[in-house]
């Protein structure tokens, strides 16, 4: 963005009237406040970034702006007058358009048909005028420098081009505000460039852009203003040029800026890595659009933090090691023996187990008892010739319920009746019953109460002391720093840096997350 379109340069001291505004918007779900009195305004021709970590309220805000949700309190203003969007169509008609990372057009229809879907040009017999439709579609796409055969079915185009078509469609339906939700997450670098040039063309036409992305490089390139959300509230609105990266990260994560600024002065210290040979070696883990060439070595008794912002590839790295995600490239060995990639049973046999991030959907089996959930993975080992042995199970269940202080009325209690913390302990018990060598923890303390959190953290320490190799992913900076002996920091799917010894502190981690090299 070297050339500023005239409409986007507000005169000093004057503020152009916003085209879309949210005032004091509050949205609650079942007792949880997702948005807390949020003020938000975007002006014609401006490009506004919207950022925040998981649970910050970004998607809720977008859904309020596009009529998917109605605010519980507060109001929306469109061109200065109060607007009520009862459904998404109302917002679209009013000129608020959304481009999702998944293109929501009809893949089997032609590009031209998609662009004019529902408003096809008619000839004098009232039938669709295909000649005009094709010509119009071509003319429209030419404006944005998109050169495709508009008669081809949409799905034959690359994903990036499909997105451009979606963009062109929404703009041709008098869009005044275009909300882009992670538009580049599945695009190639070249496609990203095209997208950016289209964005600047749109801005020249006075269309406002709301740009949601986790990629900081893109944000600084594409946007001029930013709204940062955290825990459902706006924590900062300002010109991006006034907000350095480190500050942006610390605002998103809620860590103090002063601490971060001091990070440059901290001295490096010698690493105190243990001398045991690594139990887990992962090399060149790669999967298109997700992770690229991630290497790591974990020794027994070590807790290694895996740092990174949302979308940095930290969960994907764990999934790759645990065999949950297919890899394009790369290999994993345990004690020097290669582990077949892309197979959960193979990983488990090798001694790698993973506590998944989404406990409810991927962890517990909700309608089964605590007992059945604990023994789920270990069942074959606890059985005789295919018959499950109650006595073997009781031994395991008893040991882990006691050791992990799982609070349940009995082992037969249905697991979904337990608190989140106890469910998490049941999950950990399930894996400890497998006597693993490597424990991968994805957000082990998310959504559990303070007491259980402390217990789980103490348990992680204890397990490491007993010789388990642990990889810890957490979006809480504090937890990563205090729990880990060293921290591998990921950014955009690759390893940015590794913090060791005395460098494992919040200041260094925040700097690394922001991609600030010292």
């Amino acid at each position: 963005m070297t050339i500023e379109p005239p409409t986007t340069a507000p005169l000093p001291g004057s503020v152009e009237a916003p085209v879309l505004e949210a005032r004091g918007v509050t949205k609650r779900f079942a007792g949880v406040t997702a948005l807390r009195s949020v003020d938000f305004a975007v002006r014609p021709g401006e490009s506004l970034a919207l950022m925040g970590e998981n649970g910050a309220g970004k998607s809720t805000l977008i859904k309020v702006l596009t009529g998917v949700y109605q605010p519980d309190e507060g109001e929306l203003l469109l061109g200065g007058s109060i607007a009520k969007f009862a459904r998404p169509l109302d917002a679209q008609r009013a000129g608020v358009s959304t481009i999702y990372q998944e293109v929501n057009l009809i893949p089997l229809m032609s590009v031209a048909q998609n662009i004019f879907l529902g408003r096809e040009p008619r000839n004098r017999f009232g039938l669709i005028d295909f000649t005009k439709m094709v010509a119009d579609a071509r003319g429209l796409l030419d404006v944005y420098g998109i050169d495709v055969d508009v008669r081809k079915p949409l799905r034959s185009l690359a994903l990036g081009v499909q997105q451009m078509v979606a963009l062109a469609r929404s703009v041709s339906i008098n869009a005044r505000i275009v909300i882009m939700d992670e538009p580049t997450s599945s695009l190639e670098a070249r496609e990203v460039e095209t997208l950016f040039s289209v964005v600047s063309l749109l801005r020249e036409q006075g269309i406002a852009i709301v740009y949601v992305s986790h990629r900081m490089d893109e944000i600084y390139r594409v946007a001029e203003r930013i709204v940062i959300l955290r825990d459902g509230a706006v924590v900062r609105v300002g010109q991006l040029s006034d907000i350095p990266r480190v500050e942006l990260v610390s605002l998103m994560l809620g860590r103090s800026v002063e601490k971060v600024r001091r990070s440059g002065s901290t001295a490096f210290s010698a690493t105190n890595a243990s001398t045991a040979p690594p139990v887990l070696v992962a090399e060149d883990l790669s999967r298109r659009h997700q992770i690229d060439g991630v290497d790591m070595q974990i020794r027994p008794g070590e807790v290694v933090g895996l740092g990174g912002l949302l979308g940095s590839g930290r969960s994907e790295t764990l999934k790759a090691i645990a065999g949950v995600m297919q890899l394009d490239r790369g290999r994993v060995t345990v004690d020097g023996k290669p582990v077949r990639s892309g197979s959960v049973p193979a990983a488990i046999r090798a001694g790698i187990v993973m506590l998944p991030e989404d406990r409810k959907a991927e962890g517990i089996v909700p309608n089964l008892s605590v007992r059945d959930n604990i023994v789920l993975a270990a069942l074959p080992r606890l059985s005789h010739a295919g018959f499950s042995s109650r006595r073997n199970q009781d031994a395991v269940v008893e040991v882990f319920m006691k050791r992990l202080h799982i609070k349940a009325s009995s082992p037969e209690q249905i697991v979904s009746e337990l608190s989140g913390g106890n469910q998490q302990k049941v999950m950990i018990a399930r894996w400890l019953a497998m006597r693993p060598k490597v424990l991968l923890l994805d957000e082990p303390t998310r959504g559990i109460d303070v007491g259980a959190k402390a217990e789980v953290q103490a348990l992680i320490d204890e397990l490491a002391r007993e010789g388990l190799a642990i990889v810890l992913v957490s979006s809480e900076v504090e937890e990563v720093v205090e729990g880990s002996g060293r921290v591998i920091v990921l950014r955009d799917g690759s390893i940015e840096t590794e913090l060791q010894g005395a460098d494992v502190d919040e200041e260094h981690l925040l700097a690394a997350l922001a991609g600030v090299n010292e």
């Binding site: 959907a361 517990i364 089996v365 309608n367 059945d372 023994v375 993975a377 295919g386 608190s419 959504g447």
Partner: protein
């Protein structure tokens, strides 16, 4: 945070509904028996009960397999087709004696199960679609094999499966009891049973726990089809004829009804063996009651439809909790 509000509301949700969900089928059976006790002459005698039990055997055996499939959050519509196939191949091997005839029928049924299971487990076809195609083609192939003809069976050893008795107990009942015991042990006492239920409860969690999800699904569909084939053998033996055109017609509906009425949710994660028996018994009692009061058979089908609607309606509460 949201999960806490959910768990709090769980125990308080409709106590009455919970009782209906768990014991509704038994209540209905008691009500029906009481009605017959007072208003149906000659209902309460050994002979009648024996007839009822013998009649329900094929549907019960099919329902046991169906319960396993539904426990994995699947469904098997092809059971009637499998029964027809079993009936169609039996006359072809009639000269070789009882064992080969039974084996070939079971193997043919098992093959259908392999196809169903492979489509569902490995190719990822939705169970209803995969088994719907075999529901139609199964009976079609059966008719081709039989040249659309009815073949009477005279081999006494085969007929004995449907009509004979051992120490006064009908053979088909013995087979049913053995099947019930085997399935009950399978579900409650084996690793396989526990894993099957876990898959139905949360397929993703089962996969991430390293369970052989695909293999188990395959096995479940094979088991269901083999049980349907056994039901086909019993049905054919009872009729004394191979009738692929009508044998097992609409039995998938009876089986699904029995399973669902018996308290196994269509959303999987539970298998109620005793409940399934009760469900099958309830259906049988309803049609017998209507029959003995000279109500046309069509009404018993309507009654069945109403029961399944009601049973699924009651289970809705369970869905909402999940």
């Amino acid at each position: 945070m949201t999960e806490q509000t959910m768990t709090v509301s769980l125990p308080t949700r409709g106590v009455g509904l919970g009782i209906l969900q768990t014991y509704g089928v038994y209540l209905a059976i008691i009500v029906l028996l009481l009605y017959n006790f007072f208003f149906t002459p000659n209902f309460f005698n050994i002979g009648n009960f024996r007839t009822q039990f013998v009649q329900v055997v094929p549907a019960l055996i099919v329902a046991l397999g169906m319960a396993l499939v539904i426990g994995t959050e699947g469904i098997d519509l092809s059971v009637g087709g499998v029964m027809a196939l079993a009936a169609a191949v039996m006359p072809l091997y009639i000269g070789y004696g009882l064992i080969p005839v039974v084996m070939i029928a079971i193997v043919v049924g098992g093959l259908v199960g392999v196809i169903n299971g492979s489509l569902v487990a490995f190719i990822g076809v939705q169970p209803i679609v995969a088994t719907l195609s075999l529901m139609v083609t199964g009976r079609g192939i059966a008719l081709l094999i039989a040249h659309e003809q009815l073949v009477s069976i005279t081999d006494p050893t085969i007929l004995a499966i449907g009509r004979g008795t051992v120490v006064g107990i009908p053979c088909s009942m013995i087979i049913a009891v053995v099947a019930v015991l085997l399935i009950a042990v399978l579900v409650n006492r084996t690793t396989f049973g526990k894993q099957l239920i876990a898959i139905g409860g949360s397929r993703r969690a089962a996969e991430l726990s390293g369970l052989p999800v695909k293999r188990i699904l395959l096995m479940v569909y094979i088991l269901c089809a083999v049980l349907a084939a056994i039901a086909g053998i019993i049905g054919t033996a009872r009729l004394g004829a191979s009738v692929p055109s009508t044998l097992g017609n609409l039995i998938e509906l009876s089986a699904i009804t029995a399973v669902v009425v018996g308290g196994t949710p269509l959303t999987g994660g539970q298998v109620k063996v005793i409940g399934t028996i009760a469900g099958a018994a309830l259906l049988q009692f309803i049609s017998a009651t209507l029959n003995q009061h000279n109500v046309p058979d069509a009404y018993s089908q309507i009654a069945q439809a109403i029961i399944i609607l009601f049973a699924v309606y009651i289970q809705r509460g369970r869905l909402a909790v999940r």
